[in-house]
Amino acid sequence: MKFTLVIFSAPHSAEGAASALRFARALLASGHNLYRVFFYGDGVHNASALEAPPQDESHIVAGWQALQQQHQLDLVVCIAAAQRRGLLSASEAERLGKPAANLAAGFELAGLGQLVDAVVYSDRLVTFGD
C-alpha cells in the first residue's frame, strides 16, 4: 500500500517525530510504499541541519536522512511553515535576504500542494501530532 505521513511534531519536543520515524521504518520493512513524508507546523524542525543533540540521544534528523538515502524517500517540508520558523534552504535564504540557510540534505521545501497531491494519491494517510 501507498502511505503518506504528515508530521506536526518537532523532534526533541514531543514523541510524535520519533514515533513517525519508527512507523516509517516498519512500513518500509513490510514492503509497503512510502509515497511522501510531509512536515508541517512545528514538524518542519525535523529538517534542521543545525540540530546537535548529545551523542547518547536519538538523532532524528539523521534518522530521516538515512531512511531517505536507503529508500529515495520524498521528504517534503512545507515552505510557508518553514519560513515562519526559520528553516530555509540556501536559495530561500538568498531570496529572502536572510544570513544563513539550515535545510538538511535529503529534505526539500515545497508548497501545500504537495500535501494535497499526497492525500489524493496515497492509499493511507497517517498524521503524527505534537
Binding site: 504528515v6 512545528d42 500535501l115 494535497v116 494517510l125
Partner: protein, 120 residues
C-alpha cells in the same frame, strides 16, 4: 482521481498555530479543486465564533479567513453538536455569510465515511 477528504479541526484559533495552518492547508486544497469537508470539533468550534478582534493580541483573524471559504468553493461546514452544547454555544453565534452549517450528532459515522482524514 477523486477522494473524499475530511479536515478535522479541533484547535482553538489563537492559542494553537495548527488552527491557522490547518486552515491554510484547507484553502490550498480548495484552490486545487480538492476541497476537503470541514468538521469542527472540541475547541475547534471556537474558530467560528463571531466578533473576533485578533488585532488586540497582534494576530490575524482566523474568522476572517473562514469567511473566505465560499470563494474557495466551500459553502458548507459541519460542526459537532455535542462539542457545541458542551461549550454553551449555539449555531447563531457561529453563522458565516454564504455558508451553511450542519450539526453532526454522530461524528463517528460521519468520520468513517471518508477516504482520508487530516487532523488539525
Amino acid at each position: 482521481m477523486s477522494k473524499s477528504i475530511l479536515a478535522l479541526c479541533r484547535r482553538p484559533p489563537y492559542g494553537d498555530a495548527l488552527a491557522r495552518e490547518g486552515l491554510e492547508a484547507v484553502l490550498a486544497a480548495a484552490a486545487m479543486e480538492q476541497a476537503p469537508v470541514l468538521l469542527f470539533m472540541h475547541d475547534g468550534v471556537f474558530q467560528l465564533l463571531k466578533d473576533q478582534n485578533a488585532k488586540s493580541i497582534e494576530q490575524k483573524s482566523v474568522r476572517r479567513n473562514l469567511e473566505a471559504l465560499s470563494i474557495f468553493g466551500i459553502d458548507k461546514l459541519y460542526v459537532c453538536q455535542h462539542s457545541l452544547e458542551k461549550r454553551n454555544l449555539n449555531c447563531g453565534q457561529l453563522r458565516l455569510p454564504g455558508i451553511a452549517i450542519e450539526l453532526i450528532a454522530d461524528p463517528g459515522r460521519f468520520i468513517a465515511a471518508f477516504d482520508s482524514v487530516l487532523s488539525f
